[in-house]
Amino acid sequence: MEYFFELFLGGLTRGSIYALIALGYTMVYGIIELINFAHGEIYMIGAFTALIVASVLTVMGLNEFAILVLASIAAAVYSAAYGYTVEKIAYKPLRHAPRLSPLISAIGMSIFLQNYVLLAQTSDFLPFPSLIPDFEFWEPYSHLLRSTQLVILVTTTVIMVLLTLLIKYTKIGKAMRATAQDRSMAMLVGVNVNQVISMTFVIGSCLAAVGGVLIASHIGQINFFIGFIAGIKAFTAAVLGGVGSIPGAVLGSLILGLTESFATGYVSSDYEDVFAFALLVLILIFRPAGLLGRSTMQKV
């Protein structure tokens, strides 16, 4: 039974990691129906920024908590700037082009950013400091769940709740929903669509950066390629939950994480990906729009 819980919590952590990235994918898709392949790279840039800032702050001798907060803020700001710029450079000029064009542009951006970091930084793996301090909690059961995992779980939950509130109850949230429903109509009633789209990219990028900091602290290493693999998994999770839906992205991520963890634990890690993708295929056969996705009507 304890083994089951270990696997369960491991899967939950893995799922939360995917969710932090999947949220950004799903938000962008929800608004402009673009699969932003460069999102994984934004996450990677966030992790790199945090590493650089944390190294500098450590040399300056700040305490752990301050380093974590400042590094996260720096990562979020820097990533947001990248997300904003990528949208302006690579997607905005293609807003009215056929849907394939921005998709290719996104892939190009992804390759560009990877190579940019490769050249500007290094191709080696770099050690990432454990920014989240180890604290003891839940004493007799602490071997089941470590403090880093707890922080990831809590952060993902909080972010999801905040995001839902933002979209449901704020003005920008309302504008986002309007843009998602019908861009031309939203424009007609005075929504600044370009601003809304930019905001979406900024928020998504901030989330990815926070994800980058937490995940890199958990794994303890980064290189220029981490965004690609994490991005693919997060994208899968977003599709599983219904791309465009925020609770869907989280649900999809958790299901994906748990499936992988249990497949590894009870069958074999050789087939970890096989199980994950078999599940994806099954769900898409029975619910083509994903678990919580609405099957959108064809817009005429």
Binding site: Y3, R14, F125, L126, P127, G220, Q221, I229, S269, D270
Partner: protein
Amino acid sequence: MKKKVVNKQFITVIVAGLLVLTFTGVGSAADTIKMGVGGAHSGDLASYGLPIVKAVKLVAEDVNAKGGILGKQVEVIAEDDVCKPEVATNTATKLVSQGVTVVVGHVCSGATKAAMDIYKDAKVVAMSGSATNPDLTQSGKYPNFFRTIASDDAQAKLEVDFALDVLKLKKIAVLHDKGDYGKGLAEFAKTFIEKSGKAQVVLFEGITPGAVDYSSVVNKVKKAGAEAIIFGGYHPEASKIVSEMRKSKMKIAFISDDGVKDETFIKVAGKYAEGVYATGPKDTSTNPLDKAVKEAYKKAYGEDVGVFSINGYAAAQALLNAIQKAGSTDYDAIVKALRTEQVDTPLGKIKFDDRGDAIGVGFSVYQVKDGKYVELKN
């Protein structure tokens, strides 16, 4: 002129094929001791083959300057096989027909296998400094084959021996990264553990490289009750697994290969790297002979040694030493001398086991101590 050459070849082949071996020895030992060098001397893989030829020539010059072997000068005959098995049989036939006593080569495992049958029939000893295929020494099909480089499975063997005999472990989990290198190594390790009968493989699994988290597989290792993990693969995955293990307070041994014996591993895994075992090529840089050979090579050819130069150098030394110690160019005597007489080479003092692998060449176990890999002497 041409006719004469053909004639001579013809006779040599007949001599080699039909007559008793002592006669061959006497026949080819007319004025010089001929040492063949077979390998890729042109084409894509020439960068492996040519530095070996150059190294062998250095050995020959050195020996000749000191008066030769058994009072005779050593003559080096190089033949190209472009690392292709179908060419290698011709190369071998050519060398045999020129009356070589011993051959350094060949370079590639496939070509070496093809050439060995011809050497076997001609009673010629061949020694490679680069062919690493395990079959060459382990199948028993090539009794006249020797090598001065460790075979592909040597690391796995060393890891398993270390785990079973030094650490005295009974339950081992074998993990790999599903790649050619890692999986191949893990499969060898599994076979060796099972054959030994001293321990059992409680878990054998491939992990997905690049995954965000390996906690599930680490939990599985814990549940299986393993006392150690033998991992086949590279350092990025290894450092994630080791960190994960140590963070969840698992203190079992982690044993890996030269894909992990890398400074980056220690840099990335940091304090969690402490105590990790990894096998890697023996450290020969402290050997004065190694240094001397590298300098002589640079002086003679104006370039640094190639990947297998030192192994080729050692092979030529071992062969000539065996002839010297055997006191003749007789096949059986040379083979016996190779197995019993130690020779001082840049790779250290070596002799050969019954299968033809050099004893004392190859890999050592290293352990991370205070942020550095330290060679364990045992």
